[in-house]
Amino acid sequence: MSTFNPTRRGLIQTGVVAGAGLALPTYLRADGHSGFTNAPTGDTVTLGFNVPQSGPYADEGADELRAFELAVEHLNGEGDGGMLQTFSSKALDGTGIMGKKVQFVTGDTQTKSDAARASAKSMIEKDGAVMISGGSSSGVAVAVQALCQEAGVIFMAGLTHSNDTTGKDRKANGFRHFFNSYMSGAALAPILAAEYGADRKAYHLTADYNWGYTTEEAVRSSTEALGWETVAAVKTPLTSTDFSSYIAPVIQSGADVLVLNHYGGNMINSLTNAVQFGLRDQTVNGKNFEIIVPLYSELMARGAGANIKGIIGSQNWDWSLEDKLGSRYAGTNAFVKSFGTKYGFPPSQAAHTCYVQTLLYADAVTRGGSFNPCSVDEALTDFEFDGLGNGPTLYRGDDHQCFKDVLVVRGKENPENEFDLVEIVEVTAADKVTYAADHPQFAGGSLGTCNPGA
């Protein structure tokens, strides 16, 4: 037991120390000197690019990173300027963003929400990033978007296709240029009915996370509306690499269409398994067995090789768009040219959306005159633009989702070279894939108000 026996000197000393301790906070200034988190102070501004460098979506992540580097080059006035020449808004002049040179930091999301948030947090807290972009998984995108909303920085979503990102998990500080599950379903269904008939029985294999769920729901509801029947829908873990055990039951189910709600490495593996099992050579119910991949990409087509031939899916953008469909999609060639010059091959749609998002952010900051998230929010709300490769596009203010044309594509039977892997079946006009902001597939969320942080 200690005894409390203060001396006069001891009391005075303790009092002084305690007083100094209490007074200390008045010498400390709070966060956010300029009214918002990570306000750039010097002559540079830092952006954070958080992409998967490992895991099933690593290929997409690597391509996204290339696009980010290219975008930063163009913003800083290096290289040939890419889409800055074709962009309908002329606010950007190649001197960085508002005269500040653009710097960037990168991180690895590992396609895991925990790791992605840790990486994004260190970008915000340590590196002072004022905007976070990237992501190749909707699970990650939703987690990081929520973090950015809390921290008061802007999140420019990269490759994320789930309805939830701008649906039930939408946030005022988050913006998405990429299309979504609903748009895929709406664009695909009429083509599928025309190609394969209106009395098909579909079997879904679905990646077990929010993107898989909404894609399954979207494809299901739009094909069922046209008369298709859904036999079964089975969920598969995102980390699986072998899908044989999921493919075997498909043959017994009596289904004549297999819908693979898979992406990236998952889709490459499941499609390869399905083709190896001879599904495509089968005739069920007197019809040829067909496989559908709702979300398609060039990287996946490259990974899946010959198995992708003849398979239908939807895309946000394709590098050959302007060549094939003309100047409505201006910007495509400019981007492909600068990407090709730098890296030696054409960009994927993941690269495109990340590049465009970076330019859109820079443009919104410049037009709004501030890096403050609320100013960016205002500048992007209901912003109409053109010349970024997708034709006329609207950034809807109600849910921060872009509305533009959607491509329905098919794996080419006789590719001319290793990059020319998909042919465009049809372009579905933006108004056919537009929905109300409170559509049932998107219900249950609210943007809230923009959060500038401190």
Binding site: A30, D31, D114, K126, P237, L447
Partner: protein, 399 residues
Amino acid sequence: MLGLTKRDAGLLAIVAALCIFAPFILNPFPEGSGMAQFNAGYPDLMQRLVIFGIFAIGFNILFGLTGYLSFGHAAFLGVGSYAAIWMMKLLTMNVIPAIIISVLVAGLFSLLVGYISLRRSGIYFSILTLAFAQMSYALAYSVLTPITGGETGLQPKYTDPRILDGALEGGATPQANLFGLSMKSSTELNIGDWVFTFNAGYYIAAFVMLIAFYLSIRIFRSPFGMMLRAVKSNQQRMNYTGLNSKPYTLAAFVISGMYAGLAGGLLVAMDTQVGAERMFWTASGEVVIMTILGGAGTLIGPVLGAGLIKYMENIVSKINKTVLEQWFAFMPDGIEDLLVTLVYPFVGKGWHLTLGLVFMLVVIFLPGGLVEGGSRVGNMFRRKKTDTDTPAGKTTPAE
């Protein structure tokens, strides 16, 4: 003081000082300088350092004292996290109930796992715990998706019931707090070019870690701790003398499970999100490495090990090619490229490689971990004294 010997009280005081002054110690380089890359004094990493310190302290109570090597401790961390987030979704965003419930739930779960796994010892025990952990991971990842959110994970939303808090307006983000003090609130102190960040969440986590550390000292020095050491040195002999060792090992297992749950709850309190990945077997392996790297069976070792690993994970992994090119820019082109090529595999994505090398070196040359390294350095300066005390320069084990 506090029932501790002078030596232990000194150790506790050192750890407390380290915790309090961490924002200064971890930020030795001025902002904007090239070395600022190595600063670790930002809230997220400081929180992780102390939270994984708690995790490792708890693991050390089991592994360091009884010698039972559990390969499934991440499961308890995960269970604690899920319990905490559900508390935040259902009850209140205040962190206290979340942390309490996470400890309790992890304790119950470890009681169940321990009761079954402790029927075996040695490698069989390790495999049993590993199996349980992987089962829990699989359950959280796909089977129990309605409760755990699966791959998507769980986050508090404004639509959650949260019966003790008032309803939030649409789209508002619920913030974890301690009676209104947000975990995120920080104050910054600028001295010259240096910026030091003092974060509320970090100090709360650090305070909890000090309590955890104090408890661990008391356990190490108690008769109960002595029994656990006896289990490690010769469990058979202990059984022959008529002592039933199982209650002791089970108690140690549950205590260490509760520590893991506490760490899980704190993780959620600091960053309100749970993903199933934190239960993956690599996470269980990580805490084993932390403990061995720092020095199993020592008091401060696990904390040091946890700190080193988390530092490398967050700092070394962020050094990318561009950064390397900046460092070596002053050299002639050929040598610069060569150096970048040589160093690049060990940083950035390759940080695991560096960690592996460090781990190997420590295990080969310092079997007692970083603590042994520290005491060897200490001995170098105290050679004369120790020479007279113990002729061999080290103590001989009792066996």
